[in-house]
Subunit: 212 residues, 2 copies
C-alpha cells in the first residue's frame, strides 16, 4: 500500500481547498493519507525565491484570488479573501505535528484552514488555536505546551529539509513514492496514481529518467 | 455566443498538450475557439519577470518536465523533451497570424507544437516552418513573405500589449469574456464556462469584485 503524503502550508491559498477534500478522496481511493504540514517560506528561500506573494506580479496575484474563489464555489466550501496574506502557519503546523496519527489530526487541520480562508481569523494567534482545540474537545493548554517543545520545533525544521530533498517547491504537493504532484488541481491525479501504484509493487518509486 | 480565446506561445511546454486538444473540446462544448498566438517573454518581462526558465528553481523545472510527460502520456500524444528550451515562437506566431480564420490555422498550430515537443525540431528555423506549410499543401514562400510584413509584425506586438491589458501573465491562458483561466489544466473548466456563459447573457463579462 503506497500512502499519499499531503504536504501543505496553513498560509497557502491553494492548500485550503485541497486540504478540505483530501480525506474524502483518500477514502474513495482506498489510499492512506499522511498529513505533512511544513513551512513553505523557508523552502522557497532555499530555491532562491523570496517566498513573499508581494513579489508576485499583480496580475498573477489577482488571478490567484479569483481562481481560488471559483474552486471553492465549485467545491461548495466557503471562501473569504484573508485580510492578512499570507498568515504564518508556524504555530498551527507545530500543533498539527502534535496531532500526527491522532483521530483529531484531520479535523484540526480543516478547522485551521477554515478559520484562515473562510472566517478571516489570525491563525498565528494562540487564542485562535486554543479556541479551535477547545471546539474539538481537546486540552488546549497541554497540546500547546507540547507544540512549543524543542522536539516539535525540531520536527518541523526537519520537514523543511525533507521537503527540499524531495524536490518540493510549492504547496500543496502530493508525494506518492517518489512521484510529485504539485497543486490542488493535481490531487485527484495523485490519489489515482497512489491507488494504481498499490497494485504494481515498486512502480511508485520509479522515476522517469527523462525527468531527471 | 461567448468564444474562448486560447492565448499560447509556441515555446511554452504546457501550451503544447492544451493546443493539441483545444479544437476537439471546442466542438464538444459547441464553443467558438479563437487561437491567440502571442509571445510570453515580453509579457513576463512587463510583469517584472526575466521570462527565462533558467531562472526557475531547478526542482520546479525538473517537475515541469515530469508533469508534462505524464500529461502527454495520459492524453495519448507523443512527447520528447526539447534539446533547446524555450525555443523562440516568433516566426511561427507570425505565420499563425497569417492563418487567422483560415481552414489551415489549427493544423499549422498543432504541427508546429508537434515539431517542437515531439520531434525536437528547431521551430525558429525558416526551413522547418516551410516544411510544415508544405506538408499542409500551402504556398510557403508566399505565406512567409506576408508573415514578415510590417502589418503582421505590428499585429503580434499589439498582442503583447493586449495580453498585458487582460491580465495575462502565463501561457496557455483561456480568456472567456473577461474571465481568465491560466494553465492547460484549466482548459476544460474554461470551455464549460464558455458553454454556460452563452446561456446566460452577459455573465461572462461579470468579474467578481473580490478579485479586483
Amino acid at each position: 500500500m503506497v500512502p499519499l503524503e499531503f504536504w501543505f502550508d496553513f498560509g497557502s491559498t491553494y492548500s485550503y481547498p485541497a486540504a478540505m477534500r483530501a480525506e474524502e478522496l483518500a477514502k474513495a481511493h482506498n489510499v492512506a493519507l499522511k498529513w505533512r504540514p511544513f513551512l513553505l517560506g523557508p523552502v522557497m528561500k532555499m530555491h532562491g525565491h523570496s517566498g513573499t506573494p508581494a513579489d508576485l506580479p499583480a496580475a498573477k496575484l489577482q488571478y490567484i484570488w479569483r481562481d481560488t474563489d471559483r474552486i471553492c464555489t465549485s467545491q461548495g466550501i466557503e471562501f473569504r479573501r484573508p485580510s492578512t496574506f499570507p498568515r504564518s502557519g508556524l504555530l498551527a503546523a507545530r500543533v498539527a505535528l502534535c496531532g500526527t496519527g491522532t483521530p483529531w489530526e484531520g479535523d484540526f487541520i480543516r478547522a485551521v484552514f477554515h478559520s484562515n480562508f473562510a472566517k478571516d481569523r489570525e491563525i498565528a494567534d494562540t487564542v485562535v488555536i486554543e479556541e479551535i482545540l477547545g471546539t474539538l474537545g481537546l486540552d488546549a493548554k497541554q497540546i500547546l505546551a507540547v507544540a512549543r517543545s524543542e522536539r516539535i520545533k525540531q520536527l518541523l525544521r526537519q520537514r523543511t529539509t525533507a521537503a527540499s530533498r524531495w524536490g518540493i517547491f510549492g504547496a500543496p504537493t502530493s508525494l506518492v513514492g517518489q512521484e510529485l504532484f504539485w497543486g490542488q488541481d493535481r490531487l485527484e491525479q495523485a490519489f489515482r496514481w497512489a491507488g494504481t501504484s498499490s497494485l504494481v509493487p515498486g512502480s511508485a518509486s520509479v522515476r522517469d529518467t527523462r525527468a531527471q
